[in-house]
């Protein structure tokens, strides 16, 4: 318990509202959001709920590249996107966008990883070290000389992550990274991301629809809709809330089964149940119909 409380708060957002220039409505409406060091936060919600906009604010893209009316208290590792430039914030907060293709600029993977450090004006020796480190962390050494378009979607994803990691951020934000991955790759990716977090001591903010794949790794789930945060709490609390209030997100089937039978459930035990246990429960539901 005390380790939880002694963790530093590195993102603090209060009363945040944002409207794109020339837009009619606010995309974000009085949001309160905090992240402590080392957390694994999942943000979910329907398209258009403001998730990607929040990611843009956390990295400074808003308002620097996307002007608009931004109000509220914002502190991201001490930075405020209204005061600081993107390239300042980018050394602390990394963002991996949904489509890896548009984030890989160079003609080989290793040159791409070097691109960020080159922009930072680092010494050649330091850049080389970071490139080697990034390649080994995501296990892409064999692909280092390949061109981005020669890689499969999953490997492009890894290359984009490696390139962002070379900036050595403390916070890593990923925007729907499993969108274009097949099921097996998505499952592997979830484990990969968790391992990465542990090895590098990262704080992760993950925007995702496939909650069930990441459920067991999460510290918190944030559900957004129409620019507001509906709930922000521990995963099991959030899931119960969403089931009760019929929120349109991808609730893991396990929870739906348990909930339907009226059993209260403790999120920690979710993955201790075997599929066969669920099978029994599910059959009970069928027979009750």
């Amino acid at each position: 318990m005390s380790t939880e409380e002694s963790r530093k708060t590195i993102i603090r957002i209060r009363n945040l509202s944002f409207k794109y220039k020339n837009a009619e409505k606010n995309v974000l409406d009085t949001i309160n959001f905090e992240v402590k060091e080392g957390e694994f936060v999942l943000i979910t919600g329907p398209s258009g709920s403001g998730k990607s906009t929040l990611a843009r604010i956390l990295t400074g893209l808003i308002p620097n590249s996307y002007p608009g009316e931004l109000s509220g208290e914002i502190s991201i590792m001490g930075f405020d996107p209204r005061r600081n430039k993107i390239y300042e914030i980018a050394q602390n907060v990394g963002l991996v966008l949904q489509n890896p293709e548009n984030q890989l600029f160079a003609l080989t993977v290793e040159d791409d990883i070097a691109f960020g450090p080159e922009n930072l004006g680092l010494e050649r020796k330091e850049i080389k070290e970071r490139v080697e480190w990034s390649l080994s962390v995501v296990d892409l050494q064999k692909e280092r000389h390949k061109a981005p378009f020669e890689l499969s979607g999953g490997l492009q994803q890894k290359a984009a992550i490696a390139a962002v990691l070379a900036m050595k951020p403390k916070i890593l934000i990923l925007d729907e990274p499993t969108s274009y991955l097949d099921t097996l790759s998505a499952i592997k990716f979830a484990y990969f991301l968790n391992e990465l977090k542990r090895e590098l001591n990262l704080t992760i903010i993950l925007i995702e629809q496939k909650i069930d794949l990441f459920f067991k790794f999460l510290s918190r789930i944030v559900v957004m809709n129409e620019g507001k945060i509906l709930i922000d709490d521990e995963p099991d609390v959030v899931m119960n809330f969403c089931i009760r209030n019929k929120i349109p997100i991808n609730i893991p089937l396990q929870l739906l089964i348990i909930r339907t039978l009226g059993e209260t459930y403790d999120g920690k035990k979710l993955y201790d149940y075997q599929v066969d246990d669920y099978k029994m429960l599910f059959e009970k539901i069928i027979n009750d119909r």
Binding site: T183, T260, D276
Partner: protein, 275 residues
């Protein structure tokens, strides 16, 4: 309605000596009324197969016949009279000034009369909830409206066979359900067929009755959806991966003999308890 037969088809993009075959000796039939799931890992050749059926690519070896017409001897225009295809991220095809124009495009190319086109456009627009946007620019629509428009502009062609490539990739919960209802709406007409390439088995189970699995260019399994779920090897070899949902269904129908349709129905009630 159309029957498609794929006979010993192999395909290579390079027309020279390298002979790097993306598809090898694939044979399969799609009969009127079939709703086929084309499954397999990314890069296995699914999209290539769909393009071959559509006639956009011609087989390097073997033949594809659409009702006895050899696709390598027919133009895409010919084939598009019976077969239509919805690509991944279909919003990328927008070019028109208005939604109306976008919807009319396919029909205009077919030479239909103005009044006929107007009638069909308004009918389809109503069905897809786009009627009020007919004079808006397609680029001004929201994400969901764009997706509906792009699908409507293909459905308006009223194909006998509809081919869809990864319809749920990147879609959120609500749009997945929208996709399911659109596809079910299409299949309501008797003897229309559907081929869907997807790696989203949970989605596929709700709309298909047959399945074909492609791995590394070869057709490694085909049969009906229920049999696929009873299949152990394909899943244990890592060609396909089970989600919790699919593994649950698999166990229930294998070990307890519960009717598959009932299982799907209960599953939907469970998840739609949310809608």
């Amino acid at each position: 309605m159309a029957k498609i037969s794929i006979e010993d088809v192999s395909f290579s993009y390079e027309q020279d000596k390298k002979n790097n075959f993306v598809l090898k000796d694939v044979s399969y039939s799609i009969l009127p009324g079939d709703s086929v799931l084309l499954l397999g890992p990314n890069g296995s050749g699914k999209t290539t197969l769909l393009k071959l059926i559509m006639g956009l690519l011609k087989p390097t070896k073997g033949k594809i016949r659409i009702d006895d017409v050899d696709t390598s001897k027919a133009s895409v225009f010919e084939i598009s009279k019976k077969v239509s295809m919805i690509f991944q991220n279909p919003e990328k095809q927008f070019f028109a000034e208005t939604v109306r124009e976008e919807l009319s495009f396919g029909l205009k190319n077919r030479g239909l009369r103005e009044e006929e086109i107007k009638k069909k456009v308004e009918e389809v627009a109503k069905k897809f909830g786009l009627f009020e946007y007919l004079d808006k620019s397609p680029f001004d629509l929201s994400g969901g409206e764009k997706r509906r428009l792009s699908i409507a502009s293909i459905i308006i062609l009223d194909p006998e066979v509809l081919i869809v490539d990864e319809p749920t990739a990147g879609l959120d919960f609500q749009y997945r359900n929208l996709m399911i209802s659109i596809i079910r709406g299409f299949l309501e007409t008797r003897n229309k067929s559907l081929v869907v390439a997807t790696h989203d088995i949970d989605f596929g189970l709700r709309i298909a009755n047959k399945a074909a699995v492609i791995n590394e260019g070869k057709l490694v399994w085909s049969g009906d959806v229920v049999s696929l779920l009873r299949e152990e090897e394909i899943f244990s070899k890592g060609i396909l991966a089970h989600t919790f949902t699919s593994s649950l269904i698999s166990r229930v129908i294998s070990q307890s003999n519960v009717d598959f349709q009932k299982v799907v129905k209960v599953l939907e009630e469970l998840t739609e308890g949310l809608m």
